[in-house]
């Protein structure tokens, strides 16, 4: 998975039926320094993430079909599968914790886990 920050969402009226009412998020991959790195891309939302949150994006077609409970033939590859609370890193200069406050509190329609 890629560690990404959610930049925003995309509005599209005409789209493939497999996308249903799912949110299409614009995500930006992060480096180990938690800085933007590489080009942004689109991912469908499986957990109720919003702008400003740090998420994990899974880029594997079969996985996207599993989280969205879609049949085998679905043109969908990238899915936001987790909202990150914090990341503990040790890049050689001692342990560093990056905690993410994320977006303002609001109801999350996605699946919850522990």
């Amino acid at each position: 998975m890629k560690l990404c920050t959610v930049l925003g969402s995309t509005v599209s009226t005409i789209k493939h039926p497999c996308y249903g009412g799912r949110k299409l998020l614009v995500v930006q991959p992060l480096s180990l320094a938690m800085e933007p790195e590489g080009p942004s891309f689109l991912a469908t939302d499986a957990v109720g993430a919003g702008a400003g949150e740090t998420v994990l994006v899974c880029e594997e077609g079969r996985s996207a079909m599993l989280v969205f409970e879609r049949p085998d033939r679905t043109p969908l590859r990238s899915a936001v599968v987790a909202i990150v609370d914090h990341v503990d890193l040790d890049t050689g200069r001692g342990p560093v914790r990056h905690a993410f406050s994320g977006a303002p509190a609001r109801p999350k329609p996605g699946r919850r886990g522990g």
């Binding site: 998975m1 560690l3 180990l32 790195e37 957990v47 994990l56 987790a82 909202i83 890193l89 886990g113």
Partner: protein, 87 residues
């Protein structure tokens, strides 16, 4: 399958149900000389490794079938700890 160095761990409360109870680690993919290749990734841990260790990682659909039980949504899973690379 590729080499990677484990850089840290990820904690997430809200996640896909298949990810419950599974360790998520930040990894830096490397070549066989342990030179970083590309940006960091987050992978599931199927073998029990720790920070600073050199591992090998399987990507793609097969990453989701490393455990007993139903296939999970994963695109990278640590499937081995590297003792030594002879080249």
């Amino acid at each position: 399958m590729f080499f990677a160095k484990v850089m840290g761990k990820v904690v997430s409360t809200i996640k896909d149900e298949g990810a419950h109870g599974k360790k998520l680690l930040v990894i830096q993919p490397t070549d066989h000389r342990l030179k970083p290749v590309g940006g960091p990734l987050v992978a599931f841990d199927a073998v029990g490794v720790g920070v600073d260790e050199v591992v090998f990682v399987e990507s793609g659909r097969e990453a989701g079938v490393a455990w007993d039980g139903p296939e999970i949504a994963a695109d990278a899973t640590i499937v081995g700890l590297v003792d030594r690379i002879d080249t």
